[in-house]
């Protein structure tokens, strides 16, 4: 599966459009990370636990989107966009969407 956030796949021709595909995941952090983050809040710096959590969650969302595209028979997703929203204290929704297409090399 080829993913891009541009209108095309370079060097490929789009032969079929399958419409919108999307994936989302809502993740909460666990308390251990919260405690570490609390300490980090004093001295500042990167919250590695959160970075990791968000990276994993986005991968999850992407996997769901890819699964949906595969089910449609697509081999690429173009114009991928991400959206993040904090839905509740301590939980965030990671949403990814794009257009599923079938491409052939030129």
């Amino acid at each position: 599966m080829i993913l891009t956030n541009i209108d095309t796949v370079p060097n490929m021709r789009i032969v079929e459009h399958y419409g919108l595909v999307s994936g989302s995941t809502v993740r909460a952090k666990h308390i251990g990370r919260d405690i570490m983050a609390g300490l980090k809040n004093i001295v500042g710096g990167e919250l590695k636990g959160y970075t990791e959590l968000l990276n994993d969650s986005r991968k999850d969302a992407i996997n769901r989107m890819v699964a949906q595209a595969k089910a449609l028979g697509a081999n690429a997703i173009i114009n991928v966009r991400f959206a993040t929203s904090a839905v509740a204290p301590g939980a965030a929704e990671l949403y990814v969407y794009g257009t599923a297409v079938r491409v052939e090399s030129e």
Partner: protein
């Protein structure tokens, strides 16, 4: 007595935040500058364009994120700034660091796959908050960057030139 203890804790946190926070920031900036130099050869553009005359071997989506937290001293400085308004000089470097770090990670992971160019860069900022009512849990921000990485076909031996 209670007030004294509270004051003491406050001062300890404030100085921890000030000294360690400042040291962390200086270290982070040093690392950012060093890595930016190393990756200067990999261009990143926000437009959707590349050298169309060259065949592209591969294109893929690259993503990178970083979550960064403000220190206690800056939080207090912000609270004071909120009274008078104006530019928040203590927070600006925080966002600058996070943004540059996210971009660097994006470039690092693209460079690891031998990308020649990153196009259509998009950046997203979102604030992360913990349990409400707990003052110490505000002040983290996530910077997320994504772009399409492009790798050109290697130039044919013999017909390569400059450009």
């Amino acid at each position: 007595m209670d007030t004294l203890i509270n004051l003491f804790v406050f001062l300890v946190l404030l100085s921890l935040g000030f000294f360690i926070g400042r040291r962390n920031e200086a270290r982070h900036y040093a690392s950012i500058r060093k890595r930016e130099g190393q990756l200067a050869a990999l261009p990143v553009i926000a437009a959707d364009d590349w050298d169309k005359s060259r065949p592209v071997r591969e294109a893929w989506l690259e993503t990178a994120c970083v979550v960064i937290s403000i220190d206690y001293f800056k939080r207090i400085a912000l609270a004071l700034r909120n009274i008078f308004g104006g530019r928040v000089l203590s927070i600006e470097p925080l966002l600058d660091r996070a943004r540059r770090e996210a971009l660097l990670r994006l470039k690092e992971s693209a460079a690891a796959r031998n990308a020649d160019l990153l196009v259509n860069l998009r950046m997203e900022t979102s604030s992360i908050y913990g349990n409400k009512g707990k003052k110490a849990s505000v002040g983290s921000v996530e910077l997320f960057a994504y772009a399409t990485a492009i790798r050109y076909d290697a130039p044919q031996p013999g017909m390569s030139g400059n450009g």
